[in-house]
Amino acid sequence: MLDEELVDHFISLVEPTDFGDIRLGVSEGTTIEVNSGQVRSVSGYESAGFGVRVRHKGVWGFASSSRLTKEAVGDAVEKAYKIVHSAPKPSEDVDFRVNPSREKLGYPWRTDPRGVEIDEKLGVAMRADRAAKLQDVYSTQTTYQDSVTEWLVGNTSGTLVHFYASYPRLICSAFVKDEFATQSVMQSLDANCGFELFDGDAPERVGGRAGEKAVRLLGARAVKAGIYDVVLDSAMTGVYTHEAFGHASEADLVIAGTSVLEDKLGRKVGSEVVNIVDDPTIQGVRGSFPFDQEGTRAKKRNIVEAGVLKSYLHTLETAARFRVEPNGAARAMDFSSKPIARMSNTFIVPGEHKEELYEDIKLGVMFSGFQYGYVDPGSGKFMFKAQYGQMIRNGELEEYVRDAALAGFTLDVLSKIDAVGSNLSFEGGTCGKNGQWVPCSTGGPHVRVRGVVVGGQ
């Protein structure tokens, strides 16, 4: 159990006119990788430590240590103040107020992975891997991961919150090989919960789905590059929403002048059928959390309503600069990282289209699953590659295609969405920003986008 006395000691070292906060974390986890039925690696990790911030006349200093002792806290505060006093004056200073939270939450899930034997965890990975190895599957790769962190966050404004994060995950890839290429499809199961995620036949379902989808790609050719009407499945909709739009809504990027959403609050940024939400309060989803890493209680954020930009994602400081209430979006990768504005579970809200969205497309591409991508939030330029695609001709889904990529500009594509499906599903991921990786979820319904650039051969 993390020691609240270290928080008290930290607070006693911060100058009364300054703001300071401390994050203490203890983590433990397991990773197992299985390749085609063979156990490739088994590893366990543990870490513990704290990070402190002090804010003096608008300047932040940060220091961290892996020693959970009063002496180490004292050293870190000294280092943070040394930084503050040697730094140039900030270009702008703002006063910010904190509505303090005080709450102590226990481990809220049924089965703590820290108490599960390694053989049982290995069994989960092996079962998924076996299920993926269908007759035409060339090879498989399955990764089991769990990670539990106990957090204690306190600050000089009176916040003291104690909570847990637990991220079990199973990722299964199936590879198929034909005369053209080796291709793979990845399927994952993840949540913010306990080991009960793997109850029943959950591992077999993950592996089986990866295998079934991969086999469909045998004989698939690369899509011909060009301008098409497209339908994005939940995974691709989610990644576009998160990467292309969500990052641009992070208030620190807006302040830095590197977001295409700067100066657009209250303005139209997409078509009227588009509503975008970031919600860390959805029970059990990988990107959920009860408090952010500044101790602000998590809350649902309506970012876009009927195509109009309504809010950004805020830390304490960015909220003060915009003169709005903090909305609990300050996240840190671990105790040794500073909190920055981040997403949680980001998605386009389902619409009313019950029918298939490709029915009135003459020539198009259906994008399924996410492979990789990148975005430049400053210009809004992005590219996302799907795990696989399917050609649409005269309203019918036809042959599978590989190497399908969606490219364009964030706001341009958002304005070209003309239909939003009624389905909703999430996929867990790990989001990177400024060298920090945090668990998140993306998802949404299927959406139809008119006339966008599709990359291929």
């Binding site: 366990g44 892996s66 040697s86 900030p90 295409v260 990359g455």
Partner: protein, 443 residues
């Protein structure tokens, strides 16, 4: 600076462990300082120290790894016991037979006292001066700069009697500049690295990013055609990183690399010469041995157009029946195939002479795309680049993709530049290729 432990102490701890196992221990320590400027003003600074102990254990052909950020003699003893128990129980069966048995050299990694004793306040002043020197008269909307520096030190030993230590310093600066013209917004970024913080050229990085951001305004879609592709050094890095990844013995063994079965074969034009250099004087990536205590080496990877070798960890070397090459590097707890410095030999052509060789083509400055690793097919969005005709840059492009197979690309090298830039561990000049498909929205 006081270090937690030396390799002799690790050796003693391993030798005193009672259990029939091969053991390997690696202790890594880091100190790091970093600063962030945004909108031209100071935003944030931080100082960190961190450590990580990784223990790998082989018991009866099974292996396990444990890792902790705590270190003491007691912690090490506990980790050795945990690794032993884990390996003997649910340990991996698809692993190497042994840890390294070859002695390792010392003193390859460059170290700078200036970096080790750098001061965040001084660094902040230097960055601020560079930001002030940027010509912001027109179109420059925002400037963000990050700079960091630090010391990394590793001590490692295994139960086969191999031990070693190294330390290095690193420093980097990156700048992102956003330009604006009416409703249009574009960006440019540039980065520089060295082992010596005093040798970072802040002004050059900032002016380069600024020039790029402003030059990207007014972008248009390119026509669809087949022509030449000039990759600037940053774009070339993408290609070279992908090649190094495809040379990974583990990917080759799994049949997932487009270079599988091509060792000893001609895979590129003779103009393209690629080598690994483990001892570049100013590079923080120079190393005498890898994370498995196997000596690294400088070697040709592609010479006279021929693929000379695959890159191996102990595991992949054993699987392919080849010698380890000192390319086993740790990413978190696990070892995978990686490299020290990867270098493309420069040629005789400056950038203007390369441009003059283009009849119709794209000058690719930045892309985030990478090829399909099994086929080598590359479909890359031109995230920053220009359309070129008859040697003249006509306009920056948007919504434009280039498509080619990497193996075809390498055989169609027209010329190699004399300019050299490093992005991380990859050092390349500009490269000019022929026969590349370009897809844009214009007729």
């Amino acid at each position: 600076m006081l270090w937690l432990v030396d390799s002799d102490s690790l050796f003693k701890a391993i030798n005193s462990f009672e259990g029939d196992a091969e053991l390997e221990v690696c202790v890594e320590e880091r100190t790091n300082g970093s600063i962030i400027f945004e909108r031209g003003g100071f935003k944030y600074a931080e100082a960190k120290t961190a450590q990580a102990v990784t223990v790998r254990c082989l018991v009866s052909g099974k292996m396990a790894t444990v890792r902790s950020n705590q270190f003491s003699e007691n912690v090490l003893e506990t980790l050795l016991k945990r690794a032993y128990k884990l390996a003997g129980g649910a340990g991996s069966t698809d692993c190497q037979s042994h840890f390294s048995v070859r002695s390792v050299p010392e003193g390859v990694s460059p170290y700078s006292e200036e970096t080790a004793h750098a001061d965040l306040g001084e660094l902040s002043k230097r960055v601020l001066e560079a930001v002030k020197a940027v010509d912001k008269k027109q179109k420059v909307y925002s400037i963000s700069v990050e700079a960091d520096y630090g010391v990394r030190r590793v001590a490692a030993a295994n139960s086969n009697g191999v031990s070693g230590e190294w330390r290095t310093t690193y420093a980097s600066v990156s700048a992102e500049v956003v330009s604006r013209q009416g409703d249009e917004q574009a960006s440019g970024w540039k980065v520089a690295e060295s082992n010596n913080v005093n040798e970072l050229e802040f002004e050059s990085v900032l002016s380069g990013a600024t020039e790029l951001a402003v030059s990207m305004l007014g972008a248009k879609s390119a026509p669809t055609f087949k022509g030449q592709l000039l990759m600037d050094p940053y774009a070339s890095c993408l290609l070279v990183d992908s090649l190094a990844e495809a040379m990974s013995g583990e990917e080759v063994f799994k049949g997932r690399s487009f270079l599988s079965g091509k060792k000893g074969s001609k895979v590129a034009s003779e103009l393209f010469v690629l080598r690994e250099d483990n001892s570049m004087p100013k590079s923080p990536y120079s190393r005498g041995f890898d994370d498995e205590l196997v000596p690294t080496s400088s070697k040709h990877l592609v010479q006279s157009g021929v693929l000379k070798t695959y890159l191996h960890s102990l595991y992949s070397a054993e699987k392919l029946g080849e010698e380890p090459t000192g390319n086993g590097f740790r990413d978190g707890a696990d070892i995978s195939v990686g490299t020290t410095n990867i270098v493309v030999e420069p040629g005789p052509n400056d950038v203007s002479s390369l441009l003059n060789k283009i009849e119709k083509g794209i000058y690719l400055i930045r892309t985030g795309d990478r090829p399909n690793m099994s086929t080598g097919d590359l479909s890359a969005l031109v995230s920053m680049g220009y359309y070129v005709e008859k040697g003249e840059i006509l306009y920056p492009v948007r919504e434009t993709m280039v498509g080619v197979n990497v193996l075809d690309l390498l055989k169609n090298v027209l010329a190699v530049g004399s300019d050299i830039s490093a992005l991380g561990r990859t050092v390349t000049p500009s490269l000019l290729f022929d026969e590349v498909s370009v897809s844009g929205g214009r007729a």
